[in-house]
């Protein structure tokens, strides 16, 4: 069996080498499909890793509460597009924040209200500028630093704001904008601090701090007619060992507040990264679907070429059968040949995918991630394609009648 297998591989090598151009073109379909899957997976894994690293670097004593029931799996990730969440009313309330603040071993709590609206200084800001209404605790929990001025302080009179360095440059042409007035949703705010550049547009707060304007939670409420729209609550425990207990308590307290409805999710550790990369998961899902189509096209290409190959080698099949090859031997021979095509295409696609991912990542703030899972996905996908589309030609080859096969002109 082992010998036969080695021999089939040898035959496949010979056959592919003897029609090199044809084989390369056939592989191309699978290569493109696998390359796109690899690129997407490597990039989205790289993006998630950034967030995981951020959470890790914060000491692992952070829990994050988000509205909506917990979701598992990629499909839910797609269904839970962040766009939809922006319009949905959040299930988190000030009552929840108050309940968590009262708990033991909780070091700090920061509710995050992310608002949309116009932001302008000397010049108009981007309409997508995030307006983050929060409490000063965010500075400690998310380890934000101020490069100039001070952080938010509710005790200060008047409306104050802290802005990101990039936003400062965009609005005022300089990162020295302390004391200037930024207009947020039509209301004037005095800038009291400029954040230090973080260069992490992707993070678990889903706010690009370099580009954001931070205002006090109360001011934020006024901007939306006194309502509360808390998208996220960050909780910091006194130390890592208390975190588990705190999460249990939060779950209990919030369930009570929400009349037993689990319409919130408490996340910690690596879990925090997942909903953040939800948009990547969604993107990856869509791209993988497109890649799947190209894989099917590639598979049909393989099937086509294998059928040609079977027709060309009808006489050889007849000879082999006359010399004692079983139907199984013939199936194995042609199946291995189609597998060689698809796996060859898959490996080329995997390499090409990483080249693409690295090329794309030069325009992004994160690097693609190398992981054995992606390699396995690439190989498994190629094997499935090769088997799926090679089986029919192989069975057709095995079913050939040896007598008429031998009679066929070479």
């Amino acid at each position: 069996m082992k010998i036969l297998f080695a021999n089939h591989i040898h035959i496949a090598q010979q056959s592919i080498a003897s029609s090199r151009m044809r084989s390369i073109l056939t592989m191309l379909g699978v290569t493109i499909g696998v390359a796109s899957i690899t690129t997407i997976l490597a990039l989205s894994a790289g993006a998630s890793k950034i967030v995981v690293d951020q959470v890790d670097s914060l000491g692992g004593n952070i829990a994050v509460i988000r509205p909506g029931a917990s979701s598992e799996g990629t499909l839910n990730g797609i269904a839970q597009l962040p766009i939809g969440q922006q319009y949905a009313a959040s299930s988190l309330s000030d009552m929840d924040v108050a309940a968590i603040e009262k708990m033991e071993h909780v070091k700090a709590v920061a509710p995050l209200m992310i608002l949309g609206g116009s932001v302008s200084g000397v010049s108009e800001g981007s309409p997508h500028t995030p307006i983050l209404a929060t409490t000063p605790n965010i500075e400690q929990i998310s380890e934000l630093e101020v490069s100039d001025g001070q952080f938010l302080d509710p005790s200060l009179s008047g409306s104050t704001a802290v802005i990101g360095p990039q936003l400062s440059i965009d609005l005022f042409g300089t990162d020295q904008s302390i004391g200037k007035t930024v207009t947020v949703k039509g209301q004037p705010f005095t800038i009291i601090g400029i954040l230090k550049r973080t260069n992490t547009p992707i993070n678990y707060n889903t706010v690009d701090f370099d580009n954001a304007v931070l205002i006090d939670l109360e001011d934020g409420r006024e901007l939306i007619q006194g309502a509360s729209q808390i998208q996220q609550i960050n909780v910091q425990s006194e130390s890592v060992e208390y975190l588990g207990g705190i999460i249990t308590n939060i779950n209990k307290a919030l369930l009570k507040n929400h009349f037993g409805q689990a319409d919130f999710t408490v996340l910690s550790g690596d879990e925090i990264a997942q909903p953040t990369s939800g948009i990547f998961t969604a993107l990856a899902g869509v791209s993988v679907a497109i890649a799947a189509i190209s894989l099917v096209v590639g598979g049909v290409g393989i099937m086509n070429i294998m059928l040609v190959s079977v027709a060309e080698r009808t006489r050889e099949i007849g000879i082999r059968k006359a010399l004692g090859a079983t139907n199984g031997n013939i199936i194995a021979q042609f199946l291995i040949e189609s597998l060689a095509l698809s796996i060859g295409g898959g490996i080329a696609g995997y390499i090409l995918g990483y080249i693409l991912a690295f090329t794309i990542s030069t325009f992004l703030t994160f690097d693609p991630l190398f992981s054995w899972e992606i390699a396995i996905v690439a190989i498994v996908v190629s094997i499935v394609i090769g088997t799926l589309f090679g089986l029919y030609p192989a069975i057709r080859a095995a079913r050939k009648d040896p007598i008429s096969a031998l009679r066929q002109y070479d």
């Binding site: 069996m1 010979q14 082999r320 006359a322 010399l323 004692g324 079983t326 031998l406 070479d410």
Partner: protein, 259 residues
Amino acid sequence: MADTNTPPVIVLKQLRKRFGIGDAEHYALDGIDLTIQKGEFIAIMGPSGCGKTTLLNVLGLLDSHIEGDYELDGKSIAYLSANRQARIRSQQIGFVFQSFNLVSRLNVIDNVALPLIYKGMSKLARQKKASTMLKSFHLGEREFYMPNQLSGGQTQRVAIARALVNDPAIILADEPTGNLDSRASHIIMEELSDLHKHGNTIIMVTHNPDLTTYASRVITMLDGQIDTDTMRLALPVKTGAKKPLNVVKKSKAKKKAKK
């Protein structure tokens, strides 16, 4: 050479092979009764379309859709699975074809080693055995030639070497000299005759009456039936040694019987 003490290798009882259905129905083999002993060298003759090749294909288990009974080594093939039949082809039967049927993209030694693959031999063992076999056919220095670089006679010798590499008990040759000139033909026939002396059972289809002199038994076929079945006493040594013994004109005898 024929060994009558052991049970016959091949027994055919009322073998019929049908082609087509309905109006186009036609029996290529129409009631063949034949017993072949181990070590016989049988030449099958007859006009084109009389069913010689069909008979050979049936004997070689390439065609098992038959009516009647075919016993190989005392076992009816009707009960053999396709895989079992393939194993018998691999281990007991060697084919030699008129059109040689070498695989054109493999070199000579790989062609000869081809049947050994399906016996599960390692590559090295295959190459060794094939090489020995080729040397015995004086083709040792042609091992790495491609089939299209050989003459017709050499190609057929390669094909015979391939048929023999498995040490098959039965060799089925379908007009092995059909594409060769008379000189090459006789070389091939000498090779087959040699094999016969070593105890192989050889069944050869031919159009050339001269070649029947090598055979120990000559069967002529007509319209899917055995016309004559001639036993020869001893092995012919040289060409022209035609000594037909008990000639039985089967079809004539049948006709008489009908009357």
